[in-house]
């Protein structure tokens, strides 16, 4: 009996020890293994962080002119302090009058703050007028305070807006990137791509809060640190010239100017433009209505669309530059051999088809040089057939066409270079008509204005394909350099020097005596090429690419005007403006002195 009981007592003791061992294991797991993780949870439980927004870094042009900076704005904050119901109602009534918000709306915004006893931002960008009114009424408005916060500003308004971009509230997808709710992040352009660099570090206070969210004391606070500064390659003068040119012309379009020596983008403009300040307008300020960001998003002209890198257009005759280079390098073609242009070309085949020259009466007999200078389509039809599409496609690809240039801002289009390889199925194959279209830059072929500028730049630099870039250097807020962009030579198109000499000469003659005469600048040798791209959706697009000075080029430009009809009349004058702004020598030769070359109607074509 006794030993039986002792056995059972041992069973009970074993049960006790076993279950306490489980408890001890669980305790060890929680306190030792999970301890570090749960410590952070407990810390997060008891702290509330009140942020102070860091001023974003400046964006400068190449000569340190300011493109984006910050200005102080007033933020209205409400902190509930155990207000009585009647007092709260009174506060809401007063606030509603000053802020211009309805009482219901205010009550709705204050409700969560009162329930959780936490701060709430009532108004982000209050005007000076509102801030003063609140300061005056301060004794009557318990819990309401006004804080000064740095707010993004674009002092040049719409200038280079597509490059700079704009700010907006952080979206659901972006929240993973270490942003806190309600943060403002770059939504486009450099503001977006360099957001991590520009945004700086938010400062703020850590408050200790209890389980019901009441703040008990300040644990610590930290000053916000300003974001890094970005010095771009843009040249304010050139950019202004480009945008003025586009504005005067009044049509949609794009201008890209780059330095052929290193790929620096000097100007990049797209019309219609927008004012990035519109996204950070100030409540209660004059003209607030003019800046309504909402209308920008629904505008059928798509002002937010950056035509310079996102728009894709058939290049038209500017593609003849590529044909000419291929012809010069090819052993199949004698450049002095003439082709007769009757104004059209009849392509024989099962179904004969006629391809027109832009000049109805024809160019008569033309050789390569005159063919390019006068942009004779028939000459290039025949040349294209002789060279074959493969040689043309291959050189175009060497020039970097048909692929992204690799500029820093996102959304760039690839353009398109057709070729035999593009027909993957047997339904349709390449035929000579495609070659004819390709030779004059029509059909499926597509350029972005940036690619066109790069093409001009490659010709100007005699074969150097640089990656176009916008950021020269990133600097600490103190001014010391954090990183400097390196010039990146992506590829070199190696051709005989004679070819480049011929191109310089031919393109100079385009401006001197050919289709590009409206870009003539006295005292400066300008090389250029016009283009008119047929467009099934309306009037033709106008192109002009140029570089100058021909002997030692410092700038390459491309201009595209949507529905501009003629490259010579619509695009070339804008290119001229840009060149004038960029070339120091040309600046001395007063623009007013120069009679605008009269261009006869028949010449104004392609």
């Amino acid at each position: 009996m006794k030993s039986e009981m002792e056995g059972r007592l041992r069973v009970i003791l074993a049960l006790f020890v076993g279950s306490f061992a489980v408890l001890a294991a669980r305790l060890f797991y929680l306190q030792v293994i999970q301890g570090e993780k749960l410590r952070t949870v407990a810390e997060a439980n008891r702290t509330q962080i009140v942020f102070e927004r860091a001023p974003r870094g400046l964006i400068l042009d190449r000569n340190s002119a300011v493109l984006a900076d910050n200005r102080p704005t007033f933020v209205v904050i409400f902190t509930p302090l155990n207000l009585k119901r009647e007092i709260l109602a009174e506060v809401i009534r007063r606030l509603s009058k000053i802020l211009g918000l309805s009482e219901e709306e205010l009550a709705k915004r204050l409700k969560p703050a009162i329930r959780h006893s936490s701060m709430v931002r009532l108004m982000d960008r209050a005007s000076r007028h509102i801030a003063f009114a609140l300061a005056e009424q301060k004794p009557n408005l318990p819990g309401v305070s006004v804080v000064i916060e740095m707010q993004r500003r674009y002092p040049q308004n719409g200038l280079a807006a597509h490059v700079l971009g704009f700010l907006g509230q952080v979206s659901q997808e972006e929240k993973g990137g270490g942003y806190r709710p309600n943060a403002l992040v770059g939504k486009m352009g450099l503001e977006k791509n360099y957001d991590k660099v520009l945004r700086g570090e938010d400062g703020g206070m850590r408050l200790e809060v209890d389980a019901s969210g009441r703040s008990l004391k300040i644990l610590d606070s930290e000053e916000p640190s300003v974001g890094y500064e970005i010095r771009t390659t843009l040249d304010l003068k050139v950019q202004q010239a480009a945008e003025e040119g586009l504005k005067e012309c009044g049509k949609s379009g794009a201008v890209v100017a780059m330095d052929p020596r290193n790929g620096d983008i000097l100007a990049i403009a797209s019309a219609p433009g927008f004012d990035p300040n519109a996204f950070v307008y100030i409540r209660g300020e004059e003209n607030a209505e003019d800046y309504s960001a909402g209308s920008l998003l629904i505008d059928p002209e798509e002002p937010l669309f950056n035509r310079a890198i996102q728009g894709r257009y058939p290049p038209g005759s500017i593609f003849k530059i590529i044909d000419t280079v291929v012809a010069l390098e090819s052993k199949k073609v004698d450049i002095l051999e003439t082709n007769y242009c009757p104004g059209y070309y009849r392509l024989s085949g099962a179904v004969p088809k006629t391809f027109l020259c832009w000049k109805k009466e024809g160019h008569r007999s033309v050789a390569l040089l005159d063919g390019l200078v006068n942009s004779c389509n028939v000459y290039f039809y025949k040349l294209g057939l002789k060279l074959g599409p493969d040689a043309i496609e291959s050189l175009a690809r060497q020039f970097g066409l048909g692929s992204r240039t690799g500029i820093e801002i996102k959304g760039e289009d690839e353009g398109l270079i057709p070729g035999r390889g593009m027909f993957k199925t047997n339904k349709r194959s390449w035929y000579d008509g495609d070659t004819l279209n390709m030779a004059i830059g029509q059909g499926t072929i597509l350029f972005t204005p940036l690619q066109a500028a790069q093409m001009a730049s490659v010709v100007a630099s005699r074969g150097k394909v640089y990656r176009p870039h916008l950021v020269k250097e990133v600097r600490y807020p103190t001014g010391e350099i954090f990183s400097r962009a390196k010039t990146e030579l992506m590829r070199e198109v190696r051709l005989t020097p004679g070819t480049w000499d011929f191109m310089d000469q031919a393109m100079t003659q385009v401006v001197e005596r050919g289709t590009g005469q409206s870009c003539k600048i006295p005292g400066v040798a300008v090389g250029g090429k016009t283009g008119t791209a047929q467009n099934p959706h309306g009037k033709d697009h106008a192109w002009f690419v140029a570089f100058a000075p021909v002997e030692n080029p410092t700038i390459a430009v491309s201009v595209l005007i949507e529905h501009g009809v003629h490259g010579a009349t619509a695009a070339a004058p804008i290119a001229r403006k840009v060149l004038l702004a960029a070339l120091p020598a040309a600046g001395t030769a007063s623009a007013a002195n120069m009679a605008k070359p009269s261009v006869s109607g028949e010449f104004s074509g392609d």
């Binding site: 009996m1 039986e4 009981m5 002792e6 059972r8 007592l9 069973v11 009970i12 003791l13 006790f16 020890v17 279950s19 306490f20 489980v22 408890l23 001890a24 669980r26 305790l27 060890f28 929680l30 306190q31 030792v32 999970q34 301890g35 570090e36 993780k37 749960l38 410590r39 949870v41 407990a42 810390e43 439980n45 008891r46 200790e208 809060v209 209890d210 389980a211 019901s212 008990l216």
Partner: protein, 460 residues
């Protein structure tokens, strides 16, 4: 059990010239005494810390200290009184205990919906705290007196009736949490007294069936979307509702038991037919007790029972406290955040941080080193209970010690497991540590009984 279980016994050889007082000191269980005093001291310090949030921690500390002083006095009185006196008058004790429970139903004070408090002038106490010790003594006395009956099935009825009388009266208060302790205590005493393993198995089995049916039912009711999508589980959910379906389930199980018995008989195992009848009775008792159990639960209690299976089901509601308690414990890590500097407790993330969740405060402020030590102190307490049961001079003493040990084990395990997220939030105090005078005094009184059993372990 051997003498080695009592290392602090001064001398085992008795001296003729020894006074009774000296003999008392010589046979006194110093390990148990020190262990319990350490737990109480830790408890008072933690009560002070946990009540910092309420503004007047010294008030709570003072009350707890007063209860400690009263408890120590009661403990010493009970240690000196011969425990066998309780064994001699079990009926008187039983009726005293019941009348106390009836009295509280008549003149008790209601607090938080439970009529559990009796007032004696400025002092308030919970009779159920006293009654559980009385019940332990009564059951032990009956089992010791009728130990020949115990291995038989009918020997189980009287102990069950004693317990059910207590449980029934406490459920009328209604205080569900306080009734839970009676079952493990009863099982522990019966087991030690020598109940047939088969019966214990059947009792546990029905307990488990009742408990799991309840858990499944509440678990499903927390996920209505899931039920809408799955017709099969919806059927099962409906079936777990107390009612005809549940009766059918019970009858099915009884049928299964009958079938097993028949099979056993076919296999020429000799089992008397009376067993069938008793098995049926046990099944019926299981069913009716589980429906009683279910109906006495309040909605929030049902929810709490289930939420512990997955606290994330309801992180802001019933699961919140479990999660916050785990966070409090874990954030203490090995050495704690320092006494009086826990954040989870001080900032109100823990509910009832001075009673139910006091161990979380201790773990948060003093770390694994201290919380592990408290665990060890509890284990020592339980070891002493079993050792005393082994050394006791009579069966009544052994059974009473086991009953008290099971009581401490149940409170300790459930309360500790609860704060660690391993058991439902039942609101049971942690003996010796949680704030609460009645619990402290009755725990110390139980220790007094243990000491009395230990001191008188030798027959003279």
């Amino acid at each position: 059990m051997t003498r080695s279980l009592s290392p602090l016994v001064f001398q085992s050889q008795s001296d003729a010239s020894e006074t009774p007082f000296h003999r008392f000191l010589r046979h006194f269980d110093w390990v148990l005494f020190l262990d319990v005093v350490l737990l109480c001291l830790a408890g008072m310090v933690m009560v002070y810390s946990a009540c910092l949030r309420f503004g007047h921690p010294e008030l709570y500390f003072g009350k707890q200290f007063f209860a400690f002083a009263v408890g120590l006095t009661v403990m010493f009185v009970l240690a000196t009184v011969n425990y066998q006196i309780f064994g001699q008058y079990p009926k008187t004790l039983f009726f005293l205990s019941l009348s106390l429970l009836v009295l509280v139903l008549l003149v008790g004070k209601t607090s938080r919906g439970t009529k559990a408090w009796l007032f004696l002038g400025p002092l308030a106490f919970q009779p159920s705290e006293i009654c559980k010790i009385a019940a332990i003594l009564v059951v032990s006395a009956w089992c010791a007196g009728n130990w020949r009956e115990i291995p038989r099935l009918k020997g189980l009825f009287i102990p069950f009736l004693i317990v059910l009388a207590h449980v029934g009266l406490i459920l009328l208060q209604p205080d569900f949490g306080s009734t839970l302790v009676y079952f493990p205590v009863l099982l522990g005493i019966l087991f030690t007294a020598g109940t047939n393993y088969l019966y214990l198995f059947i009792i546990l089995f029905y307990g488990m069936v009742a408990g799991s049916v309840l858990a499944v039912h509440v678990g499903f009711s927390l996920a209505p979307d899931f039920l809408q999508e799955h017709a099969f589980w919806n059927f099962i959910f409906k079936g777990t509702k107390i009612g005809k379906q549940f009766l059918v389930l019970q009858l099915f199980m009884t049928g299964a038991a009958l079938f097993a018995w028949w099979m056993a008989r076919e296999l020429r195992l000799r089992i008397p037919g009376i067993y069938f009848f008793f098995i049926f009775l046990v099944a019926l008792a299981g069913w009716s007790s589980s429906s009683l159990f279910l109906n006495s639960l309040k909605g929030y209690q049902k929810k709490r029972l289930t939420v512990f299976f997955s606290p994330r089901l309801d992180p802001m509601g019933a699961g919140y406290h479990v999660i916050q308690s785990e966070v409090a414990l874990g954030s203490g890590r090995i050495f704690g955040k320092g006494l009086f500097s826990g954040t989870q407790g001080r900032l109100g993330f823990l509910p009832e941080q001075h009673t139910d969740f006091i161990f979380s405060v201790l773990g948060e402020e003093l770390g694994f080193v201290a919380s592990g030590f408290v665990l060890l102190l509890y284990l020592i307490l339980l070891w002493r209970c079993i050792a005393i049961a082994g050394d006791a001079r009579d069966l009544f003493g052994s059974l009473a010690a086991v009953g008290i040990g099971c009581m401490f084990a149940f409170y300790g395990l459930v309360s500790l497991a609860m704060v660690m997220g391993m058991a439902p939030v039942t609101g049971l105090p942690l003996p010796f540590i949680s704030y609460g005078g009645s619990s402290l005094v009755s725990s110390l009184a139980a220790v007094g009984v243990l000491l009395s059993i230990h001191v008188r372990r030798y027959t003279h």
